[in-house]
């Protein structure tokens, strides 16, 4: 047991030494071989086939989707555990904030793209159910002395109807993530109004004007063509529908930025190795965060896709940004 721990530590140290060279190249402000400034996507059209970034690597666009798929296939089982470990549980607060800002009413249809293990969809259904119960309690309190007629009416109106009016569809390109999510749902006993679909964010298998709310939480940076995904979001939303996106973004405070960088590049891949046994996937994760456009640029991209009233708010000092836009 002690021997295996020692082997593990030695491996971790070796990997971290290798990583230090990569991070030295990737640290902001220091030019190196293939490193690009985080706000620009590198497209080389010289050879005719376009390339994009996969973390700090440059890969052909066709490659990226495959590699991202593999990353999430590998981490699917330990995804939730790793989220808790890496963010020290704060990711729950971010997702709760998304729901509070969303403030869904009854009978609302949600499409959660790149929803994977279903965190947003579960929270959505619970929120709506909770709102409903609160309303019911208020109604009950206001009815001081109900007649027998009222009581029998209450029994006849189906309680479940409201919950089933609101619907959540979780769409993800990765079957493994959805499978884990479905198991979670079965474990929690949530299944009314919840559906799972394997689909591509750039080519959604839904008709136009179907959904009231479209969310994508920590998924859009993995999409190869973000503008296409945004256009698809616009298409499937009803007029008046809301687009909401949670994504890692640029930290505004420079001191916090240094700490965050150190934490990202030193701690997270190590955690990935120890908990999920996968250093490379978590290396990709922190690199892909650096390559994603910052808050203002992403806001411009959303506006370009055709959304109105686009706003963003920084959570945890800019570690995460919540972007929101409306289809009018």
């Amino acid at each position: 047991m002690a021997a295996s721990m020692r082997l593990l530590f030695r491996r971790v140290i070796r990997l971290s030494h290798r990583n230090v060279n990569v991070t030295a190249a990737g640290a902001p402000g220091r030019p190196a071989g293939c490193w690009e400034p985080p706000s620009c996507r590198c497209f080389s059209e010289a050879a005719g086939d376009r390339s994009t970034h996969f973390g700090f690597e440059t890969v052909p666009e066709t490659e990226k989707a495959k590699r991202v798929y593999k990353v999430f296939e590998n981490v699917a089982q330990k995804y939730d555990t790793m989220n808790d470990a890496m963010s020290l549980g704060v990711h729950r607060l971010w997702k709760d904030t998304l729901l509070h800002v969303m403030h869904p009413q009854r009978g609302v249809r949600l499409l959660d793209v790149a929803g994977g293990t279903g965190d947003i969809a579960f929270r959505f259904l619970e929120y709506v159910r909770f709102q409903q119960e609160r309303q019911k309690r208020r109604a009950a309190r206001s009815m001081q002395a109900p007649s027998w007629q009222d009581i029998s009416n209450n029994y006849s109106t189906e309680e479940e109807d409201g919950a089933q009016e609101s619907r959540a569809v979780v769409c993800d390109i990765n079957k493994e993530m959805l499978r884990v999510g479905k198991q979670k749902a079965d474990g929690l006993g949530i299944s009314a109004g919840l559906s799972w679909v394997v689909g591509d964010a750039e080519e959604l298998p839904f008709d136009d004007d179907q959904f009231d709310i479209y969310t994508i939480a920590f998924g859009i940076r993995n999409v190869t063509h973000i503008d296409q995904a945004l256009q698809e979001a616009l298409r499937v939303l009803k007029p008046g529908g809301r687009f909401m996106c949670l994504e890692f973004s640029k930290v505004t405070n420079p001191v916090l930025a240094r700490l965050y960088d150190a934490y990202s590049f030193q701690m997270i891949p190590v955690l990935g190795e120890v908990i999920a046994g996968d250093w490379k996937s978590y290396q990709y994760l922190v690199e892909s965060i650096r390559k994603f456009p910052d808050q203002e640029e992403f806001k411009d991209m959303i506006e370009d896709a055709g959304f109105y009233s686009v706003k963003y708010s920084n959570l945890t000092g800019g570690v995460v940004a919540l972007h929101s836009g409306f289809k009018l």
Binding site: L178, G189, V198, D200
Partner: protein, 127 residues
């Protein structure tokens, strides 16, 4: 006397377990655990209202007269649920999307060609 107390303890534990089970199925949860295939069917039938073939939706956006094309394409893009093979079939393009564990797979590359077409099913980059 000990035996009666023991007996009561056991029945209470039994009640608690049953109660927990009952609570988890309360709230309008669709009947689970009857059979795996039945679950898949239940999920699908309500999903069918929402799902369309991602490929045949594509021309709608680029071509001009949306209203006319919409009515024509709507019929075209309707998916038929084939219970026997557990697939979603798009008749017009002749492709079938598989359903695995009750989750429909709507990725065009994973769809199966039903009949040999002259033109192969278009890839997303071409569409």
């Amino acid at each position: 006397m000990v035996r009666s107390v023991f007996g009561r303890l056991l029945t209470e534990i039994g009640c608690v377990l049953c109660g927990v089970q009952r609570r988890s199925t309360h709230g309008g949860v669709s009947l689970r655990g009857l059979s795996g295939l039945k679950d898949g069917e239940q999920f699908d039938l309500s999903l069918l209202e929402l799902l369309v073939c991602p490929l045949s939706k594509k021309p709608l956006r680029t071509i001009g007269s949306r209203v006319y094309l919409r009515t024509a394409m709507f019929l075209v893009s309707l998916l038929r649920y084939a219970a026997e093979t557990n697939e979603l079939i798009n008749e017009e393009l002749g492709i079938a999307y598989p359903i695995i564990d009750g989750i429909p797979n709507m990725i065009p590359q994973d769809a199966r060609l039903i009949r040999k077409h002259t033109d192969p099913s278009p890839t997303p980059t071409q569409a």
